[in-house]
Symmetry: C2
Subunit: 228 residues, 2 copies
């Protein structure tokens, strides 16, 4: 095993019995047929379950919705890519020529997939308990510093809750325009309150995203007014 | 423990050390605060991982996409509700008054959630290995009779693959109309092939669903033509 791989194993706090599994976990599909896609599938499910079970255990008062939002924030690509970067997975990835040239070793999706595959490889190498231990080890910083699950709610949900708490009517979202070619649509959405003159307006590549942005702007407006 | 609960445990091939966990798993939120929602969160992740790992193990030639589709078909609400019905979970559920009256014990979502919660309860009661064993036990019939993963592909994907295999151009989807109030939109979509006169047309509550339906109709048309 190379020095770089040995360093990775120290960072994972895990020694592979079968190092070929680790090599496969670090092989992107652009490199060849013996790649990490199936291991990624395995690791994805494992991380999802282990992180969920840990949150269940630690957040004894959190309801199901809060647990789901917390888990989603921890298992999303962005978070996994951060962990992949800390482990310096980019330096030990096997990438095909074109991915190498285009800087694939820096890409979030490739780093996140490799992290999942490495965890899947640990599971195959030794079993569930070892894979759980490695998962909790690489996630330690995130698990000890969880975000407030309220802030993880999407803007439309938060806006609705804020208005309901004040016994006000629900916001109305209207699509003002829809334009652009099929693969690059742009939606412009207006959010308005029936009991106030405030409106906000935002654009996005889908109706849903444009609505969320308009809701976020309305939330800000409401909080500015409250503090004015 | 009641006779009905004992029968359930025999069907699960599992005896609870702490029967209170089973009772909680069978308690719907309409019944009270001590309900099965958190256990459901736990069991959902466990089933997802265990079924995925089993497919990984058994389907050694399946690619990641095929594994994902197979898993999705096994962990969807409909399948879980079938298993819940075989276990006769409906007879041992604790439901609130209104759910009882409206026949909640027959509803897919409530049965599927209860199955997830029961598996979550086994995990808390004894640990991962026991919960895995119970999961594979209740899923045995489905796992020994897996659908062909090709048929699980959505219609747009299959249509694209059929056309690519014949070196033909990709289908074009157009929204012909969009109508109805916000909570009950209807989209009419046309699917056409640039190299043929055939078009199909379908409606649905979202653009995506209308497209899938139009693609399914086009697939049927192509297969009729091929057999004509």
């Amino acid at each position: 095993m190379s020095d770089l791989l040995q360093r990775l194993c120290r960072r994972l706090d895990y020694q592979f019995k079968n190092p070929a599994l680790l090599t496969q976990a670090l092989t992107h599909r652009s490199f060849g047929a013996q790649n990490n896609e199936r291991l990624e599938f395995l690791g994805d499910g494992l991380i999802n379950f282990v992180i969920g079970a840990e949150l269940y255990d630690k957040q004894i008062r959190a309801e199901e919705g809060a647990l789901s939002r917390l888990r989603a924030s921890l298992v999303r690509e962005e978070t996994m890519a951060l962990i992949g970067r800390e482990l310096e997975l980019g330096e030990v990835l096997h990438l095909g020529e074109s991915e190498l040239k285009s800087g694939g070793y820096r890409r979030d999706s490739i780093l996140a997939d490799a992290l999942e595959a490495v965890i899947g490889a640990v599971f195959l190498d030794t079993g569930f308990d070892a894979a759980r231990k490695v998962t909790l080890h690489v996630y330690a910083a995130f698990l000890s510093n969880l975000p407030d699950h309220e802030t993880l709610k999407d803007a439309k949900t938060r806006l609705q809750e804020v208005l309901q708490a004040q016994s006000r009517a629900l916001p109305v979202y209207e699509v003002l325009s829809e334009s652009g070619p099929p693969h690059k649509r742009e939606f412009v959405v207006r959010c308005s309150l029936s009991d106030a003159v405030e409106t906000t307006q935002s654009a996005g590549p889908s109706r849903r995203i444009a609505q969320q942005r308009a809701a976020a702007m309305m939330l800000e407006k409401l909080s500015e007014n409250a503090h004015a």
